[in-house]
């Protein structure tokens, strides 16, 4: 490693067995008037603000050393863990009074910049005497995940990322739909067996019911008999030939009622199943249960 770390900037060097170029970068906010010249190199983290690099610097290096990846200096030093977050001011000198610095506060990197003639434009209270001088060695350096990229390349990368995200989403959606359709199909197949069995039984039952109905139309299941009632009427008629029905009577009713003239007297003494009621105008109501 050269005595001065600045000497290894903007020219090919080897880090982790890889030929790379380190260029100056800017940690922290980019001045408003220069924002259009910078591209983002690394997003902000909980220990560091975002890091930017001048697009023209990348372009220049690409022209001078085509095919060699370009990395930011501070980005590389931070990734390598060479910046102490506990130290307020760390510098990389270019000469005795000139160089670049990085400022940390409360365990977080705040910003980087250049100092000239020992004067720190960003904060006049910074003092070279209080600064820690960084002496990074090649073997200590670790390359950051992302190399410096032009705005167009970043845009293309972002577009690719968006396209990849949507295509992955499409794959996942297709997968979810296929899995649910497959599961539904499988469950259908399983339940179909059960359904088929039930359907077959229901059809058999319907057929049996039809057959049974047909049998019922030609077979007598219950022999109708009104013999008991007729016998009772015959008994009544034998003792009172002038028997009359009291209103409409039917063998299908529970009880039948007749009227008899008064001469027969109270028959309930002779016939135990008979219910007798005297009619004041003359005669008797005789009633009995059709079925015992």
């Amino acid at each position: 490693m050269e005595n001065n770390f600045y000497d290894c900037l903007s020219r090919p060097i080897r880090i982790q067995d890889k030929g790379v170029i380190l260029i100056p970068d800017l940690v922290g906010p980019v001045p408003l008037s220069e924002q259009h010249q910078f591209v983002e190199l690394a997003s902000s983290t909980n220990t560091s603000p975002s890091i930017h690099v001048k697009e023209s610097d990348i372009e220049e290096m690409r022209e001078m050393y085509p095919g060699t990846p370009v990395y930011g200096m501070w980005n590389t030093l931070i990734t390598s863990g060479l910046i102490s977050l506990r130290k307020n001011l760390q510098v990389i000198p270019l000469s005795d009074d000139d160089g670049c610095y990085i400022h940390c506060d409360l365990g977080r990197i705040e910003f980087s910049g250049d100092y000239e003639a020992g004067f720190f434009a960003a904060d006049a209270s910074f003092n070279l005497q209080d600064a820690d001088v960084l002496h990074p060695e090649y073997e200590q350096l670790v390359l950051p995940q992302n190399e410096a990229k032009m705005a167009v390349e970043l845009q293309k990368e972002r577009r690719n990322k968006i396209r990849t995200a949507w295509s992955h989403l499409l794959t996942v959606v297709v997968l979810i739909i296929s899995v649910s359709a497959g599961a539904n199909f499988g469950l259908n197949a399983i339940y179909d067996i059960e359904h088929k069995e039930v359907r077959e039984k229901t059809v058999l039952l319907d057929r049996l019911r039809d057959g049974l109905d047909e049998l019922r139309m030609t077979r007598l299941t219950e022999v109708p008999s009104s013999k008991t009632a007729i016998d009772k009427i015959a008994v009544l008629w034998s003792v009172t030939p002038l028997l009359e029905t009291d209103g409409p009577q039917s063998f299908q009713n529970r009880r039948m009622t007749f009227k008899a003239d008064g001469e027969v007297g109270n028959l309930s003494d002779q016939i135990d199943w008979l219910k007798v009621k005297y009619i004041p105008e003359g005669g008797w109501y005789l009633s009995f249960l059709v079925v015992d």
Partner: protein, 154 residues
Amino acid sequence: MKNIFINITGSWEKVHWAICIVITVLAGHFLYAEHEGRTRELSTINTTVVEQDIEEFNTMAERLAQLEMLPPVRMQWAYIKAIAEEYGVDLSLSDSKGKLYRGPLASWDGEIKGDMGAILVTAIEMQETVPMYLYDFDVNQNKATIKLAVLGSE
């Protein structure tokens, strides 16, 4: 597996996750609704009851098949007509054919009219000869009427 998951979802933003969750919920809902439909259909048909009914119907069918097939109702009518003539009672066929009896068999409605004694004997004789239900009964001045329905096959 974890790597595959990270590879797939690494580049996702909120909108991708939202779509993925919505699709998963919809797919889950579809599966649940379909499955519920299937189980509901099965639960409405109680297989045990169906099997019991089949057994019961089979037994009834066997029992009925052993019974003799009823002659046509026209022939049954011929029998009771002969009985009515024998006992000297009037037998008439009602216009309301098959209105009195409500059952699976074919029936003809009619009525017998005559002297009380003859009517009672005829009714018993007829019921012993052919299946027949007796309905309305009316007697006055020793003259009786019984409405009846003679059963038979079509």
